[in-house]
């Protein structure tokens, strides 16, 4: 009976390779790691911790740990999908192949294209509040900082994000890729310095510095104590304590940060095969685990130096102001970002600005790629004839004008809604939910791959080991799908409207409904038009008989 086992490195030659084009070493492990690490961005985590104040009965620490472990399933699933079908287009292509063209398009378009319109103002808000406003405050440019907090400021920041993302797709990623390399190392150096400051600063020293800078920048005396007094009630004093159920309820918030080690999935191409599966795991898993470990270290340092209850109270203050529950906070409604708080420990404005700016590279080195995967998805569906040919048109300079417009124009509309329509900011978690739905269908596609597309499964480099006759890979995909489905249920069945994505939030349902209906309508129109032209969309990915 034939047996297949994971092979130790054999002493003898097991493959003779001749000179042939395309035989290259793929994305280096460092490149893949960098992309995953950027994507599970620590600042998404810190931004996500803001929302943990909505579930004070849960343990943030254990929520991070559980989420990380569960997302490791995603790492295996996506490493497998990339290894079996290394294709630009990612989820769209995989789902089209395994399920149907319509499934691939509806979930691919909503997940990689439509919902990224909402990520634009989220990115902008994160950057403005975490870095730009704190720097402006330190520099004394209070007028500019205040303006950035107003709807027009939020909208203009979103437009700037759109402009940058458009510019990068238009002129190419070459310079940005170089910038990314440096941004990672400088950003890591920045957070290392921040970590050292937290490690060697006493809590009393931190409180003193915090109060000093709050008085200097906001005119508020004893801001630390004032924040605790105004917003500390009901906030947890330990990141470990919490009921199991409330901790589980925190997981959908943690996914806002940790769901993305697979973000580079659409960017992998054909590379020299042998070790790809494991290498992909190392890359994505390394990015995820590093981000989680840094996040956890940050939380421990928060407990030691900043005070956990204060940290949550400060977040609660900002959330309360944004959601209109209060009109005044010790920091005039500003988000006091942890980066700013830490920089304030050193009583030197130049140092504070430099530290915040250097740490911000971890975000600025990453957000420019927001349109990259979208344009790939748009191109892939145009080549499959779902979208008109013109959508994939590029100018003589190589600029994908139409694909970019399909991102830019709706992004402007959604950014305007986010800035000027107060209820829209509550839809932040729609941005995670819609992509999670797409990931769920990719998980399901991977789960049934051994049976549904047997030839691809057999040709793949994936381990074929079985348990009770079922491939381990399918079992892992099933567990991953269950994990995502569970979170999706939490997001939708949300009687207290904690996540802002459930049935209690009509705006959210309408927004997501519009996205899905739009994708379905586009596919149906394409199907009808192509059918009239004698072209069956579903045949695009139908397997040709072998015998």
């Amino acid at each position: 009976m034939a047996t297949n086992t994971e092979a130790p490195r054999p002493a003898e030659q097991t493959l003779f390779v001749r000179k042939a084009s395309g035989l290259v070493k793929g994305w280096s492990t460092t490149d893949g790691f960098r992309y995953s690490f950027f994507s599970t961005n620590i600042f998404l985590g810190i931004w996500g911790f803001l929302y943990a104040t909505f579930i004070p009965g849960g343990s943030v620490f254990w929520a991070v740990v559980i989420t990380t472990i569960c997302v490791l399933l995603e790492v295996v699933v996506y490493a497998g999908l990339i290894s079996a079908m290394p294709r630009a287009g990612g989820d769209y292509v995989w789902q089209s192949r395994v399920f149907h063209s319509s499934v691939g398009f509806v979930f691919g378009a909503t997940g990689w294209w439509f919902i990224l319109w909402l990520w634009i103002p989220i990115y902008a808000a994160l950057c403005v509040n975490s870095f730009i406003k704190p720097i402006l405050r330190i520099l004394g440019a209070n007028g500019a900082a205040d303006w950035l907090g107003k709807p027009t400021g939020v909208f203009v920041a979103s437009l700037a994000t759109i402009a940058l993302a458009t510019y990068l797709v238009a002129v190419g990623m070459k310079a940005y890729a170089t910038f990314q390399k440096w941004a990672l190392w400088f950003g890591l150096a920045g957070i290392t310095v921040a970590g050292i400051i937290l490690l060697f600063t006493s809590k009393a020293g931190f409180i003193s510095a915090f109060n000093r800078e709050s008085l200097h920048l906001y005119g508020t005396k004893d801001a630390y104590q004032a924040t605790l007094a105004q917003f500390g009630k009901g906030m947890p004093s330990s990141m470990f304590s919490g009921s199991v159920w409330q901790t589980v309820r925190l997981i959908p918030f943690m996914l806002f940060w940790l769901l993305w080690p697979n973000w580079g999935a659409t960017l992998y191409g054909e590379v020299r095969g042998a070790k790809d599966f494991r290498k992909n795991i190392y890359q994505m898993g390394g990015g995820l685990l590093s981000a989680a470990v840094i996040g956890i270290i940050f939380l421990f340092l928060v407990v030691k130096t900043i005070g956990y209850k204060f940290f949550m109270a400060s977040a609660n203050g900002y959330e309360s102001y944004i959601y209109g529950y209060v009109t005044k906070t010790p920091h005039n409604g500003d988000y006091v970002s942890p980066t700013a708080m830490i920089s304030w420990v050193v009583n030197n404005s130049a140092f504070q600005v430099i530290l915040i700016a250097v740490i911000s590279l971890l975000v600025f080195g990453w957000w420019g790629t927001v349109f990259l995967s979208s344009t790939r998805m748009i191109f892939a569906s145009a080549f499959d004839r779902i979208l008109p040919e013109g959508v994939a048109k590029v100018t003589s300079g190589g600029v994908p004008v139409i694909a970019l417009l399909l991102m830019v124009i709706p992004s402007i509309v959604v950014s305007a809604l986010y800035a000027y329509q107060p209820t829209f900011v509550r839809l932040t978690y729609d941005a995670t939910l819609v992509i999670a739905v797409m990931f769920l269908f990719s998980g399901l596609a991977f789960m049934i791959m051994p049976w549904r597309v047997k030839s691809i499964w057999q040709n793949s480099a994936l381990p074929k080991a079985k348990i009770f006759g079922i491939p381990w890979m399918a079992v892992i995909a099933a567990l991953y799908s269950i994990f995502l489905a569970f979170n999706i249920v939490l997001w939708f069945y949300d009687p207290t409207n904690t996540y802002g994505t459930g049935y209690k939030n009509g705006s959210s349902l309408i927004f997501m409904g519009v996205l899905y209906v739009a994708a379905i309508v586009v596919w149906i129109i394409a199907w009808a038009v192509r059918k009239r032209q004698g072209m069956a969309l579903e045949a695009v990915a139908k397997e040709i008989p072998v015998e």
Binding site: L15, A20, K174, G273, S455
Partner: protein, 315 residues
């Protein structure tokens, strides 16, 4: 007369992709099949004797232990489907091949020729009496010796260096030569030489541009068809996320000058796309041979001067 054609490329020794290519005529209901180059495999997988009636091979980081003819046959089929050549060897023979590159080269030639002969026989059997025109052009990765094997076929027309009449008064200008690559492959040359080569073939064509189809393995430079990960030519390593246009300026120049109706390309597997260059529709369907999937493109010519419609396929 309307003409439907199916174009695929870069199957790189994958037996399952070759079979799919031949069967695609019926599947997509086309009149003409065109394979755009790089037919032959890149690697030999030694299936090593491991005791009486026991064999072992390694592929994709997995060790496979086999016993009996059925298991070996099945494994060899799997290896062939992946685009590699399975060869049964003793451990001593493996060591000899490792030490003697000339003997390894001979073995590659033997396996390459044997495989192409088998493919030709299979195609002849399948296409006999079908009325399907099947044009196969080798690519830069294919040694010159396969042209003569293809030429023995009753059903296959060899593309290299030729102008081929297609139904409906269309003509195909075909060449598998490319611009220089980092791998020093059998059919590559510098841009001026490539331009001269293609121009010479184009001059043989009698069809007007609106009935001319170019089948050139190298994609035109600076298009969506020629984007590949940037490679360091010395170490053959990918340079991060950086990409580069690696197509041929000669091919681009020919398309710009001649403005054929259609231009079919391959070579860059990850650059699956279709673009307009002036009035020319240029297509690279990419390649997914590693997973046993045939990437292709169905094109319908309207019988006059236009491409009526096209679609990229994954079959």
């Amino acid at each position: 007369m309307k003409v439907r054609l199916f174009f695929a490329t870069d199957v790189h020794g994958s037996e399952v992709c070759w079979r799919k290519f031949i069967n695609s005529a019926k599947h997509y209901e086309v009149d003409v099949l065109i394979l755009g180059g790089d037919m032959t495999g890149k690697a030999i997988v030694p299936v090593v004797e491991n005791g009486p009636d026991r064999w072992q091979y390694h592929m994709q980081d997995q060790q496979h232990d086999l016993q009996g003819d059925d298991e070996i046959d099945k494994a060899e089929r799997l290896i062939r489907d992946h685009g590699y050549y399975p060869v049964r060897l003793s451990r001593e023979q493996v060591q000899e091949l490792t030490a003697e590159p000339e003997r390894l080269e001979e073995l590659f030639a033997t396996e390459r020729r044997r495989t192409v002969e088998r493919w030709v026989a299979w195609a002849d059997e399948r296409l006999a009496g079908s009325g399907i025109q099947c044009i196969v052009c080798p690519g830069n990765d294919d040694q010159p010796d396969i042209d003569e094997i293809l030429a023995t076929s009753k059903e296959i027309i060899v593309g290299e260096g030729n102008v081929i009449d297609m139904p409906g008064g269309y003509q195909l200008v075909s060449s598998g030569w490319t611009n220089l690559t980092p791998w020093d492959t059998p059919r590559e040359e510098d841009e001026p030489a490539l331009h001269a080569r293609i121009e010479a073939i184009v001059k043989q064509a009698s069809a007007p541009p609106e009935r001319l189809v170019l089948g050139l393995h190298a994609p035109p430079f600076d298009t969506q068809l020629d984007v590949a990960p940037k490679i360091d030519w010395d170490s053959l390593t990918v340079q991060g996320q950086d990409t580069a246009h690696v197509g041929s300026t000669a091919v681009r120049q020919i398309i710009d000058e001649v403005q054929p109706l259609l231009s079919l390309h391959g070579h860059i597997h990850e650059s699956r796309a279709a673009v307009r260059i002036g009035r020319t529709l240029a297509v690279n369907p990419g390649s997914s041979y590693v997973e046993g999937t045939l990437s292709g493109c169905v094109v319908e010519l309207d019988g006059k001067s236009k491409v009526k419609r096209y679609r990229l396929t994954m079959g």
